[in-house]
Structure formats: C-alpha cells, structure tokens
Amino acid sequence: DAGITQSPRHKVTETGTPVTLRCHQTENHRYMYWYRQDPGHGLRLIHYSYGVKDTDKGEVSDGYSVSRSKTEDFLLTLESATSSQTSVYFCAISEGTVTYQPQHFGDGTRLSIL
C-alpha cells in the first residue's frame, strides 16, 4: 500500500462542467504526478509537482490545471470538461525524481464525460 488515496473513484458528468479530482498521500513525498490512461496509449503525464506550490506541465496538459497547497494533497481540475477527457486518471508519488526513484500509483479515478 503506497499510502495514496484518490477521490472520487468514479464520476460521470456532462460536457462543460468543472471537475476536480483529489490525490491525498500519507507518506510526505515531495513529488506527485497526475497521469491519464487510455487504450493504446499507456500512461501519459498531465502535470506534476515537486513541492508545495511548485508544479509543471507534462505532455498532455491542455485543458487541465493543478494545485498543491499542502504536501499531502494534489488536485487536478478540468475547468470545462470535454468528452475527450473521458479516461482513467492515476495519481502517483515518488520520494525523489523519476530518474532515481520508482513512482507508486493510486487506484485511479474513472471519469466519464457525456
């Protein structure tokens, strides 16, 4: 158990509505990440954080924003959800940079946008 809790676990919403996903960790790790997983694409990085209030974009960041006001919480927001953002979203944490430390994943949030 990597001490990561994602909420909600499932969500169905309509196009154009705002959506916020939460990732909570109990291990006080510096690095946190948000990925999306789609068939045929593996896992793709959306945004990551390397400390409180320190965040940066990943490879598929358009349409997403993040915030990290506390070490333990990393929020992913879809300001105006679109059907292309239907996906499974995973949060991950690591003790150090991915170069040297493996990432550990939460159980995911299945998001459907109708």
Binding site: H41, T97, P102, F105
Partner: protein, 114 residues
C-alpha cells in the same frame, strides 16, 4: 521524442507456460527502465533496471536490461492465473525537467488460462 514500444501487445498462455515480454526504448539521457504490473487498479512496481546485463529477480519474475541494444525483457516462469494483468514498461530520461521524464509503453496484456 522519447519512445517506448512493448511487444507483444497481448498474449494468451496456459498455466505453467513461460512467457517473455519485450520492451524497446529510444530515450535521450537514458537513466533507468522500470516494469509495472497492473491488474484491476493501480500499477504496482516490479523492477527498476539501471545496469546492462544484471538480472533482477523476484520469485518467478525476472528482468534484464541491454543498454547497447536498447531493450529489456521481463520473464515469467511457471505462469499462474494470478499473473494475468497488463505489464507496463517505462524508461526515464535524466535530462530536461526538474523531475526527469518517464515515458511509458502501451503495455502487454497477459492472459493466463487454467
């Protein structure tokens, strides 16, 4: 652009068989190669490989990295139905961003029949 390719994309075997999963990578500033197992929920970390030719082993699973030919294999001997999962390979790029960069392959879906 960094790229990780896994093969085969899917594999069906019977209990007791031995399987070999392949992962090739093209990554600048390569640092390490990781394997994950994903059942219904979170990907779980299996191995992190940084040196060529040194096998990592955990029970019936083993993995090796060839940095000259830019690939890694994951072997599973005496497969069991509990080995059925998606196996994900990822490669790290030590340059660029502050966290490094992790690129995932598409995954191999392994199904083990009784």
């Amino acid at each position: 652009e960094d790229k990780v390719v896994q093969s085969p994309l899917s594999l069906v075997v019977h209990e007791g068989d031995t399987v070999t999963l392949n992962c090739s990578y093209e990554v600048t500033n390569f640092r390490s190669l990781l394997w994950y197992k994903q059942e219904k929920k979170a990907p779980t970390f299996l191995f992190m490989l940084t040196s060529s030719g040194i096998e990592k082993k955990s029970g019936r699973l083993s993995s090796i990295l060839d940095k000259k030919e830019l690939f890694s294999i994951l072997n599973i001997t005496a497969t069991q139905t509990g080995d059925s999962a998606i196996y994900l390979c990822a490669a790290t790029n030590a340059g660029g961003t502050s966290y490094g960069k992790l690129t995932f392959g598409q995954g191999t879906i392994l199904t083990v029949h009784p």
